[in-house]
C-alpha cells in the first residue's frame, strides 16, 4: 500500500517544498536564541544569509527583483491568477478598466467604468464615482440609483441597517442619503481632496481635511465641529474600528490622533498604514533605501525590493494584502502568528489595467 501512496503525483510538490523551506529557514533565523546558545546564533544567521545569497546568484535573472534576504519570502512561485481569497469577504478593486468586485472564490465582476468606490457599511452595496456621476450599485453590477454631479470623487458610505449616508467630494463636500435622496452640501465650505472618513461608533460624524491641512471632525447634526488638529499633509484618513483613533497618512509621514480631541498620540514611522481590525495596532509600510517592509507592531511580516503600496486587511484580521507594483503582484501575508505568504502575479492584466490596480476595500464576512 505504501508504494501506491507514495507514487501519487502531487501538483506543484517541488515548488511547495521550496516555498516551505524558504519560510521555515527565515522563521528559524528569527527564532529567539535561548540561554547558552547565543554563540550559535550569529553563525546561523550567516549561514542563512549565505544560502540566500547563493540562491540569488544561482536563480534565473529577474526572479523577485534579486532574492535579497527577506523576513518572509513566498513570491518566487506566485499563483498566475487570483484563484481565491484566503479569508472570507470580497475585494473592491479599482483599475483602468473600472471598479471590480472579487468574490472569495476568485470570481470577479467589472461593475463599470468608475474611478473610485467603497463598500456600504454591511457590504451589500457599492458606491462608485465616475467623472460626473455618483452611483449606488449591487455587487453583481445592478444599478440602484445614480446622481449626476460635477467632479465626483472619494465617496464613503456609513450608517446603520436603516439609515445610511454617503459623503463625497465634488466642488465641495456633499452628503446624500443611502437611497440617493436629499443630496446637500456637507457643512464645511471647502476641503482638500482627501476622502472623508466617517467615524465608526458615532452618530454621523465625519473627518475632513481643511485647505490648511488641518483635520477636523464635524457632526452632521447641527454641523458642530468637534475638534481641529494641527496642520498636516494628509493624503488619507482612517479610523480605528472603535472610533477612538484617527490615522492620518500624509506625505510627511503618519500621525495617530485621539479620536475625541484631535491631539497627536503617536507618530509611527512609515509611508502607509492601516489599523488591524478591532485594535489600535497598525500595519505599516516602511521604506528604507530601495527596500520596503510590511511591519505589524515589532514584527516584520514581509520585505521586498522596491515600493510596496496599499494595505488591505481581511475582515477577520488574519490576512493582509499589500501591492508590489514592480513585480505586478499582490502579496497576501498571514498576520496572526503563522508565516504564510501567498502571492498573485499578473495583477494588472487580470484587471485589464496599465496602471497597478488599487484595492479599495476588503469587506464583510
Amino acid at each position: 500500500m505504501r508504494p501506491e501512496l507514495e507514487r501519487i503525483e502531487i501538483p506543484g510538490e517541488q515548488h511547495a517544498r521550496e516555498r516551505a523551506w524558504t519560510v521555515a529557514s527565515a522563521a528559524f533565523a528569527e527564532r529567539r536564541p535561548v540561554n547558552g546558545r547565543r554563540r550559535m546564533w550569529r553563525p546561523a544567521i550567516a549561514v542563512v544569509a549565505v544560502v540566500a545569497a547563493l540562491a540569488a546568484v544561482l536563480s534565473p535573472p529577474g526572479r523577485a527583483v534579486l532574492d535579497e534576504i527577506r523576513d518572509a519570502v513566498g513570491v518566487e512561485h506566485p499563483q498566475p491568477a487570483l484563484f481565491s481569497l484566503p479569508a472570507p469577504g470580497r475585494l473592491l478593486v479599482a483599475s483602468d478598466a473600472g471598479i471590480w468586485v472579487v468574490q472569495q472564490d476568485g470570481s470577479k465582476r467589472l461593475l463599470g467604468p468608475y474611478r473610485e468606490a467603497s463598500w456600504s457599511p454591511f457590504g451589500r452595496f457599492v458606491v462608485a464615482a465616475s467623472e460626473n456621476e455618483l452611483a449606488a450599485l449591487e455587487p453583481d453590477g445592478g444599478v440602484r440609483w445614480t446622481l449626476a454631479r460635477p467632479g465626483v470623487r472619494s465617496p464613503r458610505w456609513t450608517g446603520s441597517e436603516t439609515d445610511t449616508r454617503i459623503a463625497y467630494l465634488g466642488r465641495q463636500p456633499r452628503v446624500v442619503a443611502g437611497d440617493g435622496s436629499g443630496d446637500e452640501p456637507l457643512c464645511a465650505a471647502s476641503v482638500r481632496r482627501v476622502a472623508p472618513a466617517w467615524r465608526p461608533q458615532a452618530q454621523l460624524a465625519v473627518a475632513l481635511t481643511a485647505p490648511s491641512g488641518a483635520v477636523y471632525v464635524v457632526d452632521l447634526d447641527g454641523c458642530l465641529r468637534r475638534w481641529t488638529s494641527s496642520p498636516t499633509r494628509a493624503r488619507r484618513l482612517e479610523w480605528s474600528s472603535d472610533g477612538a483613533r484617527l490615522l492620518v497618512i500624509g506625505s510627511d509621514g503618519l500621525r495617530v490622533l485621539d479620536g475625541r480631541t484631535g491631539e497627536v498620540v503617536a507618530r509611527p514611522r512609515g509611508a502607509d498604514a492601516a489599523f488591524h481590525p478591532g485594535t489600535h495596532e497598525l500595519a505599516r509600510i516602511e521604506t528604507r533605501d530601495d527596500t520596503s517592509a510590511v511591519v505589524l507592531g515589532a514584527r516584520t511580516l514581509f520585505r521586498g525590493a522596491g515600493e510596496l503600496r496599499g494595505l488591505a486587511w481581511s475582515p477577520d484580521g488574519r490576512w493582509l494584502l499589500v501591492g508590489w507594483p514592480a513585480a505586478d503582484q499582490w502579496v497576501l501575508v498571514r498576520a496572526d502568528g503563522g508565516r504564510r505568504i501567498r502571492a498573485v502575479s499578473n495583477v494588472s492584466e487580470q484587471f485589464r489595467s496599465r496602471s497597478f490596480p488599487r484595492v479599495e476595500g476588503w469587506c464583510c464576512e
Binding site: M1, R7, I8, I10, E13, A20, S25, F28
Partner: protein, 169 residues
C-alpha cells in the same frame, strides 16, 4: 537504530542553531508531511499550508522538544489532525465535496492515479487512518492515541477503508 541516533543529533544541532541540521530534518520530514496532508485533504494548496504551518509549529516548539522522542511521528500527528480539521471546516462551510458528486477529482483525473481516485471516495476520517497506517507507518495503537479515538474505531476504519479501496482498485 542509527537513523534514530542521527535524528537525535540533528534535533540537537537544530536546537543549537544549526541550519544544516534543520535542513536535514526538513528534507527528511517535509515530503511525507505534505503527502499525508494532501492525501487527507485532496487539496494541494491546503496541504501546503497545513504542512508548512505544522513545520513552523514544530520549529516554535523546538527548544522544548524532548530529543529522546522521534520528531517524525510528532510532526505527522500535528499534520494529520490539522488536515482532518481542515476537511471538517470545509464541509461545515458547505462547499461542494467533490468526492461525493464526481467520479474522481479533477486532480485525480490529471494524475490518472487509481489509488488517489479510490482514496477520494473515502471520508476524510477513513483517509486519515489509512494514511497514518500505510504512509506514515503508525501502529493502530499510535493512531488511536494521535486521533484520540478508541482502538476499535481505528481498526474498524482501517478495515472498512481497505475494503473500500480493495473494491475500487
Amino acid at each position: 537504530m542509527r537513523e534514530a541516533r542521527d535524528e537525535r543529533a540533528r534535533v540537537r544541532g537544530a536546537q543549537r542553531g544549526s541550519v544544516s541540521d534543520l535542513e536535514a530534518l526538513f528534507r527528511t520530514h517535509w515530503p511525507r508531511a505534505f503527502r499525508a496532508a494532501y492525501l487527507v485533504t485532496h487539496d494541494a494548496a491546503a496541504a501546503e499550508d497545513i504542512a508548512q504551518e505544522s513545520f513552523l509549529a514544530a520549529l516554535r516548539a523546538l527548544d522544548r522538544f524532548d530529543r529522546r522522542r522521534p520528531l517524525g511521528p510528532w510532526l505527522h500527528r500535528i499534520v494529520v489532525n490539522r488536515a482532518i480539521d481542515w476537511t471538517r471546516t470545509r464541509r461545515l462551510r458547505a462547499e461542494v465535496e467533490l468526492a461525493d458528486v464526481l467520479p474522481a477529482t479533477p486532480e485525480a483525473s490529471m494524475t490518472g492515479d487509481e489509488t488517489f481516485s479510490a482514496l477520494a471516495r473515502l471520508s476524510p476520517e477513513h483517509r486519515a487512518v489509512i494514511v497514518m497506517r500505510y504512509l506514515l507507518e503508525f501502529t493502530p495503537g499510535e493512531i488511536a492515541e494521535a486521533l484520540d479515538l478508541p482502538r476499535g474505531t481505528v481498526n474498524s476504519r482501517l478495515r472498512r477503508g481497505l475494503d473500500a479501496l480493495g473494491d475500487e482498485l
